[in-house]
């Protein structure tokens, strides 16, 4: 566990979460959400929970992004709020 690395990843995590919430284009939000999942995967791998990081890399950064994109393309692209 490297504290500096942790803090850097956590800062980027918070940034990615805020961007994913505030972007009007839902496709861009889906992509930022994928980045969020990948950062969480990095954080877990760095803290030693490799199994969880593996799951997050496949589910969070991989498949769920595709599912969200598929949903966005079949509904509306823009957020209203």
């Amino acid at each position: 566990m490297i504290v500096t690395f942790d803090i850097i990843i956590l800062v980027f995590l918070v940034l990615a979460a805020i961007i994913a919430l505030s972007v009007k284009d839902l496709l861009a939000a889906a992509m930022v959400f994928g980045i969020y999942g990948f950062l969480i995967c990095l954080l877990w791998a760095e803290m030693g929970a490799v199994d969880v990081a593996f799951t997050e890399a496949t589910v969070g950064a991989g498949v769920s992004t595709v599912l969200i994109v598929a949903t966005v393309l079949n509904t509306r692209r823009r957020s209203t709020d």
């Binding site: 566990m1 199994d51 498949v63 599912l67």
Partner: protein, 265 residues
């Protein structure tokens, strides 16, 4: 605007409560924390038991897999059932079956995109065709090697499903559905659960508890109960992988076509 203010207040309050709860957490890797040292006069230390006994009990070096598939077998089984339920609910909400839809009829031209007819998709299509078998081989390695290295049924299953999703995204959904049809993935999803529950039920045949894999040493022809537990974990992981793979692809196929399984993204 008003909704946004209320939402922000709710988020801030929840976050503050969560942060307050974090104060009570033990430090990262603290040897004196309750899971590592036990409660004085109460429960013994869980992590110490797993660390000391897992290899002796089941000859599995990866403690995470041993805890997931053996010690906490019920938990993992019903997690898999949860995934199956998610797949069933997506099917129930989205899938559209019309009687006048002839599944053998050719699709409309605009959505019938194949790799070979469209030079914009050749590079991506060919690369994904090369990459998909590699991903599947790695996924099988992850499933089969789950006791010795990080990985296991969930991860391998998601990767297998992702390889089919990749084929459907880069080529056409119709070609992928011709190889892995709706009938196949619906059946496989249940087959996975049946493998898990069946392996759990087999020990009851000889009068042991549900999911007590040690009783299967006769079935797997191993010398001791330890290797029987290890082999059963592999079988259980295979069941989980089959279910997860099928459900992932089913979710994508239903979500990307609004449940018609025609056209695709």
């Amino acid at each position: 605007m008003k909704a946004k203010i209320f939402a922000s207040i709710a988020v801030v309050i929840t976050g503050a409560i969560l942060l307050y709860a974090v104060i009570d957490f033990p430090d990262f890797g603290d040897p004196g924390s309750p899971p590592n040292a036990g409660v004085p006069g109460g429960a013994p230390a869980a992590s110490r038991y797993y660390i000391q006994n897992t290899y002796r009990d089941s000859k599995v070096p990866n403690l995470v897999t041993a805890v997931l598939a053996d010690y906490r077998g019920y938990d993992t089984m019903f997690e898999t059932v949860v995934i199956l339920t998610a797949g069933i609910s997506i099917f129930a909400i989205l899938r559209v079956v019309r009687r006048d839809d002839d599944p053998s009829a050719p699709e409309p031209v605009a959505s019938d995109r194949t790799i070979d007819g469209d030079h914009h998709r050749i590079i991506v299509g060919i690369t994904c065709r090369i990459a998909a078998p590699l991903i599947q081989i790695f996924a099988l390695y992850v499933v089969a090697h789950g006791h010795y290295s990080p990985g296991g049924g969930f991860q391998g299953g998601v990767m297998l499903g992702a390889s089919f999703i990749l084929l459907a995204l880069s080529g056409s959904l119709r070609e992928t559905l011709a190889r892995f049809s709706e009938r196949d993935y619906t059946r496989l999803a249940f087959v996975g659960i049946l493998i898990y529950a069946g392996l759990g039920l087999l020990p009851m045949w000889v009068g042991r508890n549900f999911l007590d894999y040690g009783a299967l040493s006769g079935l797997f022809m191993t010398k001791g109960e330890e290797m029987a537990r290890s082999h059963s974990m592999l079988g259980v992981e295979i069941g989980v992988a089959i279910t997860v793979m099928s459900i992932m692809f089913a979710m994508f196929a239903n979500l990307s076509t609004r449940g018609r399984l025609q056209g695709g993204l």
